[in-house]
């Protein structure tokens, strides 16, 4: 990485943009200050700042310095007020386009990740740590005043950060949903449930939900060596959850495959950006194929990509002969997105998963039928890579959307500098279904507690409930981890 060249690139871009602003400005000496934004070219500079700070090629303070000086320089020439542009930090986070590069804790270099090719058993993955992951697939009916419904326990996870169930919930009527305010876990609800263990301990339950899924944490932390937990609801038979010994292989028995990779920080960032682009296509529906108006969100996302690629190359975090810029150009061409400024010729071959998603989007009649409701337990810890510990905690189809739950350790808590980490994971997460179709995952909601991120990812397109198995691919800079997992769907009554 060449930080000096990175900063020089950004400052030279500011010079170019200032000259352009100067030449295009109608300068009125002595005119009152205008409230209009003086810097139409500010976003171009801000995007480069975002990208360079995301890969740590320029520190946030230096990037802000360039942005603020640019805003002031244009303002004093155009006799306009830089106003909000002086608040430069949002410019670095606005849109959250670029994932922060991440390669382990600060003192860990590329060599510290230590991944090697091969298959790792679930037991092997969790050995050496207290982590315990148990797939559940249990449904617990409940009744609260006039509202009845059920909680589906997808998995139980016990890590150094604590013990939690990943769950979905439903009421039996829309009226009930409204009555509950879609805030499952309000003050009354946790008291409905009790959890105890084979040693006679009882636990307090802490509910944390967004819409129809979330987690229930146990407090205090259960001791090691428990044989079972029991969840009780008034009027229902208690549900017993057998806990395996620590390090024992779970029922899924998944043996994730590790493929070492050596992606540069720039390549990883652009690859994750491509995921976000493909996710956005799914978000905005099939109209994207037909009208430029509908493609506006994609144009907005990709504007200035050429500058970003040039900046990453200048910072020496993107090899000059990397295939990724050409692949991004080809992806943009496939989506009829122009104006990105990428100069690399489109190509070469696109990754299979991109092609799969593109072919889905470009079908004459893409599958728009909402995915049927259902939930599938998962509990798999993936081998550590890039300093990250990722575990899969469950999958469900709700309201026509497919959600995948993850637990991620190894990322620091968001300290308020740079782009928010959690809204833009530094890894690619994809899922291939038993029909061979790929699905891209993007962060839908997140919470941080005790050193771990609990994430809910949304899949595009949604998963058919007939899917018998999935292959989950998590791709970082140093490795791609692939886990093949059978799905045992549970259905709402």
């Amino acid at each position: 990485m060449n930080r000096e060249r990175a900063e020089t690139f950004m400052r030279l871009l500011a010079e170019t943009e200032l000259r352009a602003a100067r030449e295009g400005a109608t300068f009125i000496s002595g005119a009152p200050w205008s409230g209009d934004s003086p810097a139409t070219s500010f976003p171009r500079l801000a995007r480069v700042a975002q990208a360079l700070t995301a890969v740590h090629a320029i520190d946030v303070a230096a990037a802000q310095d360039v942005l603020a000086n640019f805003a002031i320089a244009v303002g004093v020439r155009q006799h306009s007020d830089p106003g909000p542009l002086l608040l430069t930090r949002p410019a670095l986070t606005r849109g959250r386009l670029y994932a922060r590069a991440w390669w382990g804790p600060p003192d860990a270099g590329p060599g510290a990740t230590g991944v090697s090719a091969g298959e790792v058993s679930a037991g092997e993955v969790s050995a050496g740590g207290p982590d315990c992951y148990v797939p559940l697939g249990l449904t617990v009916p409940f009744r609260h005043e006039d509202v009845s419904g059920e909680v589906n326990l997808l998995s139980y996870a016990h890590t150094p950060a604590g013990a939690r169930f990943t769950v979905t919930w439903r009421t039996r009527s829309p009226a009930g949903q409204a009555l509950m305010g879609r805030h499952f876990g309000g003050p009354a609800v946790p008291r409905l449930f009790t959890v105890s263990d084979d040693l006679g301990h009882r636990y307090q339950l802490s509910f944390s939900f967004t819409d129809w899924s979330g987690e229930i944490r146990l407090e205090p932390d259960p001791p090691d060596g428990l044989r079972w937990l029991e969840l009780s609801v008034p009027g229902q038979k208690p549900v017993r959850i057998d806990l395996p010994e620590r390090g024992a292989e779970g029922p899924d028995g998944a043996g994730p495959q590790i493929t070492p990779t050596e992606k540069s920080a720039g390549e990883q960032m652009l690859t994750v950006f491509a995921d976000r682009l493909l996710m956005a296509v799914g978000e905005h529906g099939p109209d994207l194929r037909w009208t430029s108006y509908a493609r506006a969100p994609l144009h907005a996302m990709t504007a200035g990509l050429g500058d970003v690629v040039a900046a990453l190359e200048a910072a020496e975090v993107l090899p000059p002969h990397s295939q990724v810029p050409g692949q991004l150009a080809a992806l943009c061409a496939s989506l009829s997105v122009t104006g990105h400024g990428l100069t690399a010729p489109p190509g070469p071959e696109l990754p299979e998963r991109w092609l799969s998603l593109l072919s889905h989007y470009q079908r004459r009649k893409p599958d728009m039928a909402p995915a049927r409701e259902g939930h599938a337990p998962l509990a798999v810890a993936l081998p550590e890579f890039d300093g990250l510990r990722v575990a899969l905690l469950g999958l469900h189809n709700t309201d026509g959307q497919t959600m995948l739950h993850l637990l991620v350790g190894g990322l620091p808590e968001d300290d308020g500098t740079g782009a928010p980490i959690v809204d833009n994971l530094p890894v690619s997460v994809w899922l291939r279904d038993s029909g061979g179709r790929w699905h891209v995952a993007g962060v839908d909601s997140v919470k941080f507690a005790d050193g771990e991120y609990w994430l809910r990812l949304k899949l595009r397109p949604a998963l058919a409930r007939a899917t018998a198995w999935i292959e989950v691919l998590v791709a970082g800079r140093s490795a791609e981890i692939c886990a093949m997992l059978p799905l045992q769907w549970g259905y709402p009554p």
Partner: protein, 314 residues
């Protein structure tokens, strides 16, 4: 040709003066021999102390303090003029308006620029108490940063309001403060190295218009690097058509000694160094064309007293 300057960077610059509204009147502020002098405030330090104790601070004193704060601030190079054609005209009314918050009175309320990311209601925000804490940290930090930048802006407006003569002299002073960059001058090397990107950009932004005037090149075709070591540097023209580039390697002190003194282009020569500094007469090294050897030129300010920017002639 080896050029080792033994004189002050500002030796080719005459003194200059500006009038500043101060209190009930207007006071002269003077730049002379590299220093700003507040002629009507002989004990500005004492006045500043009194102001700190609750008294009013004189505008002249404020200007003097701003000058001192930014005498080695590279922001001056990023904001100030790139050449005579880029004169930045700021009135004292503009300064007053900015200081009072009118016009420049943006206050961070958490809703700047529509919806800043820090305050955007992301779906994560409501999930856990730690998320609002992070948002609070962001907000607090943003507020602190905004205050610093607003102060920088009002400082800059005050300094720009002094006029073009002061603007280039301050730029020269800043460049001189960092002029050892690239030379590898011992303990200061790391800190100075941090200034290199800003200096390269500052020189590029100022050499571009000069090259346009000198050779008819697009300013984007000028590629600047900082020259370190003996000699004045190099200036070469390479490529053809769109690939044409003017590769310029000059020491950072060029900004202070040559550009700030208005010597960059004299009689169709790109001046690369000052051999014998002085005003209104000096001897410089000028290039008639890229790749040529620099030739000594005796130059003279043909408009002494005619303005704050010298008008050099051979």
């Amino acid at each position: 040709v080896t050029v080792i300057p033994s004189d002050e960077w500002h030796a080719c610059l005459p003194s200059c003066e500006a009038m500043v509204p101060c209190g009930q009147g207007t006071h002269a502020v003077r730049w002379e021999a590299g220093a700003l002098r507040l002629t009507e405030h002989p004990d500005a330090e004492a006045e500043a102390v009194l102001a700190a104790l609750g008294g009013d601070k004189a505008r002249c004193v404020e200007v003097g303090e701003a000058w001192a704060r930014h005498a080695d601030d590279l922001s001056v190079l990023a904001i100030g003029p790139r050449g005579p054609a880029d004169e930045v005209v700021i009135s004292w009314d503009d300064v007053a308006a900015a200081q009072q918050g009118a016009g420049g009175g943006f206050v961070f309320t958490g809703s700047a620029a529509g919806r800043p990311a820090a305050m955007r209601p992301v779906s994560a925000a409501g999930l856990h108490p730690s998320v609002p804490a992070a948002v609070q940290r962001r907000r607090r930090r943003a507020q602190e940063e905004l205050e610093l930048v607003r102060r920088r802006r009002t400082d800059m407006l005050s300094l720009l309001a002094l006029g073009y003569g002061f603007q280039v002299r301050l730029a020269g002073q800043v460049a001189a403060a960092h002029a050892d960059v690239g030379v590898g001058s011992g303990s200061g090397e790391v800190a100075e190295g941090r200034a290199r990107p800003a200096l390269v950009a500052a020189m590029t932004g100022r050499l571009g218009p000069v090259a346009e005037q000198w050779l008819g090149l697009d300013p984007d075709q000028v590629v600047v690097s900082l020259h370190a070591g003996p000699g004045w540097g190099s200036v070469e023209l390479t490529g053809r058509g769109e690939q044409r580039r003017l590769l310029v390697a000059l020491p950072a002190r060029w900004l202070a000694r040559v550009w700030a003194a208005g010597l960059a282009l004299v009689d169709r020569h790109l001046v690369v160094a000052v051999e014998r500094a002085g005003w209104p007469d000096a001897r410089v090294l000028g290039l008639r064309a890229p790749g040529a050897e620099p030739e000594p030129l005796d130059v003279h300010d043909g408009r002494p007293g005619g303005g704050h920017a010298p008008h050099w002639e051979v």
